[in-house]
């Protein structure tokens, strides 16, 4: 065996949680947004750098059809949200990826668009997937009105009244995005072209900026429609109510495979969070400010949990756990801090006394008072995926076998002879052009399975290695058995990226795709996770946070 495997490659210390604990679906499916979530990273930056936000264009008729441009001006560059508002008949409104029309469509333009740019975008952005954008654009997205809330708000405002708060809280948003595409999709700028810009180096910053500016557009749109409808008697949406409203998002299975397809990126997200937790646990004491922030954050989490609604049985149970656990934390904090390393003591108490849902909420709450200590970790959450792409053909088979035994032991323990462990397969639907989950023993198409069942791929590779001599190089294995190439690539990266793999069987009969989605959405900063089935969810972004026009230089977020 070579040094590469014997050497302790793991970047994890005694206060880090282990991948075996962290990378389980049940825990990933209990993730909460936190300081390092991508929308928080964006809001901190624009506040610290004093970005200026201006609505530079508003051309909208009485029905709410027209276009608008919102400019975000940073120290080095400007970005502009270009919004097109449409008059969509109710029967044409669908959140599904196969929809062809939306209430509003958007792109984030790199700079300030000229009239020629706007005309080009007007001919393409409303078509979404059927149009083309260019390297001058960083995102492409669309949103539909919440039928429940949008008309209610416009009606009330048009009569000079504010909307009903129960209805505001029951929905939480006026419009929901149904897709926000970035990173080179449909001709947009490649990530590689913008990744060296400080303001876009953290993950999904262009997409988050786009959604945040969209929130402003939506508020302007309801005020505009109410003013046209109600004339002089119309009211403007109360800023306090507006603050509660986020941008909704409706997400299906398409998001789930992302976490599996980007192992180094996911490792870096999770590692940053786990490193943050380890740093906090290592602190020797609690300052007065930290104690106050901790308690305020807990109170905010309790308020959020009180308003967080779902009709899904799984989520209802989790919310009950969460509310109970937050109350338990509140009680426990009356005797805290005590002893040495009080943050570590708090964490260990949580592990012993809280549900997984409560433990993950505690993690987010514990990180909140420690911006100075952990916010810099946001810079480590992107990934140069090309680095992990090249296979090391010189690695002896013995080393590869050792990697599988040590980093994929969880996979090797799964009995794939049990039909329940092979029950599903991931595929791309011809009709929807989206990832879907099929029933292997009931439906056709398993021969077109996507390579997302990593545990099974690891098992097959491990079995294949039995016929190979320890000293043979990986290059020879892959020349003879190219079907293992994808798994070898992942396995070779595993020692360096401990959080790269979801350590569960993604084709098991009882696997819940919403667990993968919740993890990703928590990293975005999403709240109000509301599964509509085990395969699609609604969430809210930026709920309770500032609007762009409320940002002042150096202000707190």
């Amino acid at each position: 065996m070579t040094d590469a495997v014997h050497r302790s490659d793991t970047p994890l210390g005694p206060l880090h949680r282990s991948p075996d604990q962290v990378m389980r679906l049940a825990r990933m499916g209990s993730a909460h947004p936190m300081r390092l979530s991508f929308l928080r990273v964006l809001l901190r930056r624009v506040a610290q750098e004093g970005w200026e936000f201006t609505r530079t264009h508003w051309q909208m008729d009485a029905r709410g059809v027209g276009r608008a441009v919102y400019r975000a001006k940073g120290p080095q560059r400007s970005y502009s949200l270009v919004a097109f508002a449409h008059d969509l008949p109710d029967e044409a409104r669908s959140d599904r990826v196969i929809a062809t029309a939306w209430d509003a469509t958007f792109t984030l333009f790199d700079g300030e668009p000229t009239p020629t740019d706007l005309d080009r975008l007007a001919a393409n952005v409303p078509l979404q997937e059927a149009g083309r954008i260019s390297a001058k654009e960083l995102s492409l997205s669309r949103a539909n009105r919440s039928v429940r809330l949008f008309n209610h708000v416009v009606d009330r405002l048009s009569k000079g009244q504010q909307p009903d708060m129960d209805q505001i809280d029951a929905v939480g948003y006026l419009m929901r995005t149904t897709a926000v595409y970035g990173s080179g999709k449909f001709g947009a700028a490649d990530r590689a072209l913008i990744a060296d810009r400080a303001e876009l180096s953290a993950p999904f910053q262009a997409e988050m900026l786009s959604v945040w500016l969209t929130r402003w557009f939506i508020m302007d749109l309801v005020n505009h429609l109410a003013a046209h409808k109600g004339g002089a008697q119309a009211a403007q949406l109360d800023p306090g109510i507006a603050r509660r409203l986020g941008v909704g998002n409706s997400t299906g299975l398409g998001m789930a495979p992302f976490l599996v397809r980007h192992p180094t990126l996911i490792n870096n997200w999770i590692f940053a969070r786990e490193e943050a937790l380890a740093r906090v646990r290592a602190l020797p004491g609690v300052t007065a400010d930290q104690g106050v922030t901790l308690k305020n954050t807990l109170a905010a989490a309790q308020e959020n949990a009180a308003h967080w609604q779902s009709d899904h049985p799984i989520q209802i149970a989790k919310l009950a756990d969460l509310r109970q656990d937050l109350a338990a934390i509140e009680t426990h904090l009356t005797q805290w801090p005590a002893g040495q390393m009080p943050w570590n003591a708090l964490w260990l108490w949580g592990q012993d006394h809280l549900s997984i849902e409560g433990q993950e909420a505690l993690l987010s709450i514990m990180l909140e008072p420690h911006g100075d200590l952990i916010d810099g970790l946001a810079e480590c959450m992107n990934a140069d995926e090309a680095k992990a792409f090249r296979i090391n053909g010189a690695m002896p088979i013995a080393d590869l076998r050792h990697i599988l035994q040590t980093h994929y032991d969880w996979a090797l323990k799964i009995d794939f002879n049990d039909p329940g462990q092979m029950a599903r397969f991931w595929y791309v639907s011809e009709e929807k052009l989206e990832p879907r989950l099929g029933e292997r023993f009931l439906e056709d198409g398993a021969e077109l399975e996507q390579p997302l069942a990593i545990a099974h791929l690891a098992r097959k590779l491990y079995d294949a290695l039995a016929a190979w001599d320890d000293t043979a190089p990986v290059a020879a294995l892959l020349l003879a058995h190219p079907q293992h190439r994808l798994m070898v690539r992942r396995a070779q990266a595993a020692p360096k990226y401990p959080f790269a793999e979801v350590r569960d069987n993604l084709i098991a009969h009882d696997m819940l795709p919403i667990d993968l989605m919740r993890c990703k959405l928590a990293f975005f900063g999403a709240t109000r996770f509301d599964p509509r089935s085990d395969k699609w969810v609604r969430i809210s972004l930026f709920s309770g946070m500032s609007y762009p026009f409320e940002i002042t230089a150096g202000g707190a977020i």
Binding site: G187, A188, P473, L479
Partner: protein
């Protein structure tokens, strides 16, 4: 799909990788086909046509690897050969000749990866075409690159050499042939599973309202 303006690199790589899988390449090789085509695309080479020609008929075999000569009875797959070249570069065990290589231009991005790994450049001779490949660039006459692109199958000689030049790489997206794109799309569509009544009923949004 409407492709009337330039693909991004990401989009092109995805299209090519999916097509390679649709054509029957194993997943890992299909990923490398996508990356290789993307490397060529942003260096102005019409990788779409080359890839279509490399993969569209019956899958071609892996190379038979002798010490100094790699080849096969029938034209060998440039993706599998290229991937093996990078794998064996780590062992310092590269051939000097590759015979019967299908779409030899497709070997260039793999030589670039091998050059990066070995800290050298590769001088390539194919018929009377001479080019050098560094980790980032292709050095040589545009006519030679064009001639190489036109070859369906050839013998290629490769020699590791000290780096002679490191030209800056400025992305220059290739003009791609719409018929090649259509062919790649068609190959990619072979990875899709047709819907059935039962899959529709168990689908992500099935049975629930998404307009509320």
């Amino acid at each position: 799909m409407n492709h009337n303006s330039a693909f991004s690199q990401t989009e092109f790589e995805t299209l090519c990788g999916k097509a390679a899988r649709g054509a029957g390449l194993d997943w890992g090789l299909a990923e490398e086909a996508g990356k290789a085509a993307g490397w060529m695309y942003i260096r102005g080479i019409n990788a779409a046509s080359a890839l279509v020609k490399a993969i569209s008929s019956a899958p071609s075999p892996a190379p038979i690897c002798g010490d100094d000569n790699w080849g096969g009875q029938t034209p060998i797959c440039p993706i599998h050969t290229g991937a093996a070249l990078v794998d064996y570069a780590g062992l310092n065990a590269l051939p000097s000749r590759i015979t019967n290589l299908r779409q030899p231009v497709m070997i260039i991005p793999f030589l670039a990866m091998a050059a990066d790994l070995m800290g050298c450049q590769f001088d390539l001779l194919c018929n009377d075409i001479r080019l050098s490949v560094t980790a980032q660039a292709i050095i040589g006459a545009a006519d030679d690159l064009c001639a190489l692109t036109g070859l369906d199958c050839a013998t290629v000689q490769i020699t590791a050499a000290a780096i002679t030049a490191q030209p800056d790489h400025k992305p220059q997206f290739a003009v791609v042939d719409p018929s090649a794109i259509a062919a790649l799309d068609a190959l990619g569509a072979r990875t899709y599973v047709p819907a059935t009544e039962s899959s529709r009923q168990s689908g992500a949004g099935a049975g629930t309202s998404d307009n509320d």
